[in-house]
Symmetry: C2
Subunit: 290 residues, 2 copies
């Protein structure tokens, strides 16, 4: 058997690749792609075993492209990784902080370092990737330019870290999802939690639903979780696109889909919603625990 | 008295300016700015009477910068405008569709025309504004380049519309909010609606709340609306930024804040939430009605 192959958006050295190494160790083959959409399509086609995609950042919020792909694709969610994101300002070896005029990075990274970039008085320029910006500065030998990316990107491309930890919030973290063609094998919970009424504390489930366009319909759907005392960890709305001002709701909650209590909740939810798609259950990321 | 002055993000010809004219007619002075943040700061400083900012698009979803500014600013929401967005591909007068190699526009506009841009096989390049991209093509006489913007931008800058209606969804609409230093005067409802239990159908209210980090707390907050049979038209979550995976919820609902039933709901909501900020009540946009 060959190595596990895992697709991610960006160039080698991207935060998504860091998330892969954190979750799966170094003995995997990482496959760079230009877009989140391509991570999904490579995984669907079986060209890679798994995909790892960013889903939300603790400062800038949800990654809409990932949510839209989770809706339209048939992939399952089989894991999550939470990564503390430490941004670095990276430039050619001869560069000095005072000589930087422009800074390249992904829009999310630029936004997460907005105060730093503003204080430095440099022009932010949007690119498709953090590590890709480091690679570009190296390849084009761009003087007076810096990139915002992770420290590992500087190591990979042999560039200099001018400043480390330039993110505006010291808690800056990104949550990634692991997607696959098949659902994860159900795992026995390591310890049942009495406090949570028997639902394993160590697992999470993600799903998407749509409710009829009538008053109280979202509340009626959420009631199913509240009555079962199941904790929602995230709720996100995305437009249906076809019907203005109607939404899909993406919900993450504590518990596994094969837990009897969750089975009952899902069956009741199916009756109360116009659309329901369970994306999968997976072990909760350690870093995600409060 | 001088004309009403209204700030918007972008250059003359931007969709935000179109929304201003739709709501206030042509007898106003529109003030272009480079960012949504600047629209808020000019309005706060009294440099303009009002600001008009995009808050959500029916295809691409919420405009995060506007939500974040609504939280941090002291401005009130005093109106909404819904605009049907018809995107055009705009280029120099001598240009032909087959000769276009790159297309400039705001990321939202590029995303709303993703299928068209992909089919055309041209390179999308992100800029800060739709109309600003048209202006740039004119000023720099960029051959082989086109911009995605509204028809009015082509007229203002004297450029040619190569193709009209290139948005992927024929229902593509953007909702804008009108922000001001003072709340709007309460208006008497034109007709009380029996169906909605006496709450005027013609008004909406926007607010922000945060709930304690405990199971069922979001449900408990929404229960207040459901029991009063008040229809939520939108719920959006945004990260608190300081505390990872804790969120502010932005809710729009039908009804005015001085309606006795809404007064009671707001007072109950204040008891059930850790944070509550009422942004304002305003007449519902005609185009927004189902």
């Amino acid at each position: 058997m060959g190595k596990l192959t895992i697709g991610f958006q960006g160039e080698h050295g991207a935060y998504s690749e860091e998330a892969i190494y954190k979750q799966f160790g170094r003995e995997v083959k990482t496959v760079p792609t230009v877009s989140i959409r391509e991570v999904f399509s490579l995984t669907e086609a079986g060209s890679v075993d798994l995909g790892v995609v960013p889903v939300e950042n603790s400062v800038e919020g949800s990654i809409n492209e990932t949510y839209d792909m989770l809706l339209s694709s048939n992939l399952k969610v089989v894991g999550e990784v939470v990564l503390r994101v430490v941004h670095c300002l990276i430039a050619l070896r001869a560069a000095k902080l005072g000589g930087i005029k422009v800074v390249y990075s992904h829009p999310q990274a630029l936004a997460q370092c907005r105060n730093f970039v503003t204080a430095l008085g440099v022009e932010p320029i949007v690119t498709y990737d953090t590590a890709g910006s480091v690679k570009m500065i190296k390849e084009r030998r761009l003087e007076g330019a810096a990139a915002i990316a992770g420290e590992r990107a500087a190591q990979i491309y042999g560039l200099k870290v001018l400043k480390k930890g330039i993110e505006d919030y010291s808690t800056n973290s990104t949550r990634f999802l692991v997607v696959a063609r098949e659902s994860a094998e159900p795992e026995r919970p390591k310890r049942p939690s009495a406090r949570r009424g028997g639902v394993s504390y160590g697992s999470k489930t993600s799903l998407i639903f749509a409710v009829p366009h009538t008053p109280g319909s979202l509340y009626n759907a959420l009631e199913v979780f509240a009555r079962a005392k199941i904790n929602l960890t995230k709720i996100e709305s995305r437009p249906t696109k076809e019907r203005p001002w109607e939404y899909y709701f993406f919900v993450d909650f504590e518990g596994r889909r094969d837990d009897p209590k969750v089975v009952e909740v899902l069956s009741e939810l199916a009756r109360k919603t116009a659309f329901l798609k369970v994306l999968g259950s997976y072990p909760r990321s350690k870093a995600d625990r409060p």
